[in-house]
């Protein structure tokens, strides 16, 4: 079976990791997170994205308007990321990388 690949630059990779890790707050080495990401198939990546959409919808209900400050929002996203990471047995950074990946769900990312 042909493996589909998306090549990105080191700058693009760094930006992807930095933005993702703002919410994951992970200590994993970026290349390890990328290895995990590439190990996920399209079904898993789409499932992870749907999980985030689900938790986003719950967040808007469960956190009252008057309590929706940036800190409570951030912590809630962080905890939800850890929940999703546990359910898929991956690092939290890997999980959030699936939300805005620079490739299609069935593509592996290669950094040059």
């Amino acid at each position: 079976m042909k493996i589909k690949v998306k090549v990105i630059s080191n700058d693009e990779f760094t930006k992807w990791i930095e933005v993702s890790n703002m919410f994951a707050n992970s200590l994993i080495q970026p290349h390890n997170a990328l290895e995990q990401f590439n190990g996920l198939n399209s079904k898993q990546r789409n499932s992870i994205k749907r999980s985030y959409e689900y938790y986003d919808s719950i967040r808007n209900i469960k956190i009252p308007k008057e309590d929706r400050d940036s800190e409570s929002y951030y912590m809630d996203v962080l905890v939800d990321t850890h929940i999703i990471a546990t359910e898929f047995d991956i690092d939290p950074l890997t999980a959030i990388m699936c939300v805005k990946a620079p490739c299609k769900p069935n593509e592996k990312v290669v950094v040059i």
Partner: protein, 377 residues
């Protein structure tokens, strides 16, 4: 006498996924998003608990890096901190919220409270919310108590042949499977804590806690006497405090009845502004008037300490609850069998039971062999 001590490994054997430490922490977090979360018992805004767990996790990493070393007070806390760092430091980079055992979050909470100078009652209230959320997650809507339906016949026979069964589990699976009395040395879901029992000694005092509490029997297990904390020493303290309190009050009540000077002194205590002093005075007065009153001691630890004959230890990790191993090591035994899951546990057990090891009565057996036997026709 044939004694058995059973831990959470028994439950994991019959449900490999839902009762691991990781799954319990995951369930605590996910429960916070449930529509039917018992906000009237645990916390009125569940997202606060979820967020707090996230904050504790971020501090856990600082703790592992040694930045909280100066915030551990007392020997027990310092030993817990050292054990915590030893357990998690080699996987710091890969740590997730769910990879830290829930009871370790009590330690993180206490250390953070020391750092930010949060004291009681707030420190206590937050810890209580964490504890009740933990019990809610373990109970798992009652599914936990159904595990016994999968017990093989050989296991039921094995359990029935034991003279005494002790467990650190809160559930009633073994009782349901065997009809035997089981000694829950860390409490049990179906026994309420004294503060939630109207007729208890505690609730005869003027500031009876139950007066301000509405018990929802649908969640009876959340009011239980289940013990949960980060170190064995604290568990042992909680286990012993009722019997020690009973002993103290009994002696004081005798003096109250026989010595008019002591009676006058104690009567004065009830007027003290310090609630603890006043309550002690009231307790002694009540005990003197009604000698049958006592703080309930449902942990059966005295029975565990007094065991003789043999003991088999099944499904109990050697990385926690050192107070239990200390008691077993001191007991007058002829044989002790520990069923290990990984070889690495054997050295740890030998270190925890040195007297039994030196007497050559400590035996290590594979738990995989145990279960193979239980499933044989």
């Amino acid at each position: 006498m044939k004694n058995l001590l059973v831990g959470n490994g028994l439950n994991i054997q019959f449900d490999h996924t839902n009762y691991t430490t990781q799954q319990i922490v995951l369930r605590i977090l996910k429960n916070c998003d449930r529509d039917d979360f018992p906000t009237h018992i645990i916390v009125d805004r569940p997202f606060l608990l979820k967020n707090y767990m996230g904050k504790l996790f971020l501090e856990a990493r600082e703790i592992i890096l040694g930045k909280y070393d100066s915030y551990a007070f007392g020997t027990a806390e310092k030993e817990s901190l050292a054990a915590f760092k030893k357990q998690y430091s080699n996987r710091l980079e890969r740590l997730r919220i769910t990879d830290i055992g829930f009871e370790d979050y009590y330690l993180i909470h206490d250390l953070v409270c020391h750092k930010i100078k949060m004291q009681n009652p707030e420190q206590f209230y937050v810890r209580e919310a964490m504890k009740v959320a933990y019990l809610y997650a373990i109970y798992n809507d009652g599914k936990l108590n159904q595990l016994h339906t999968n017990y093989p016949v050989n296991l039921n026979n094995y359990l029935k042949n034991c003279d005494n069964i002790f467990t650190t589990n809160y559930d009633s699976n073994i009782e349901s499977a065997t009809g035997k009395e089981v000694y829950h040395i860390h409490g049990q879901f179906d026994k309420k804590s004294d503060v939630y029992v109207e007729s208890s000694f505690r609730n005869q005092l003027p500031d009876a806690p139950i007066r301000d509490t509405v018990i929802d029997e649908n969640y009876f297990y959340l009011y239980s006497n289940a013990l949960t904390t980060h170190c064995g020493e604290y568990k042992e303290f909680q286990i012993n405090q009722h019997s020690q309190a009973n002993s103290c009050v009994e002696k004081m009540a005798l003096a109250y009845k026989t010595n008019p000077e002591i009676k006058k002194e104690i009567d004065g205590w009830t007027k003290d502004k310090n609630t603890l002093t006043a309550n002690l005075g009231y307790s002694i007065q009540l005990k003197a008037a009604n000698p049958t009153l006592a703080f309930s001691d449902n942990y059966h630890f005295d029975k565990l300490k007094a065991i003789t004959g043999s003991i088999e230890i099944l499904g109990l990790s050697p990385w926690n609850d050192f107070h239990i191993f200390e008691s077993i090591n001191s007991a007058n035994l002829e044989e002790c069998v520990y069923y290990y899951f990984n070889d690495s546990e054997c050295d740890e057990i030998r270190a925890l039971l040195p007297k039994l090891e030196s007497q050559h009565i400590l035996k290590m057996k594979s738990v995989k062999d145990f279960w193979r036997e239980m499933y044989e026709d």
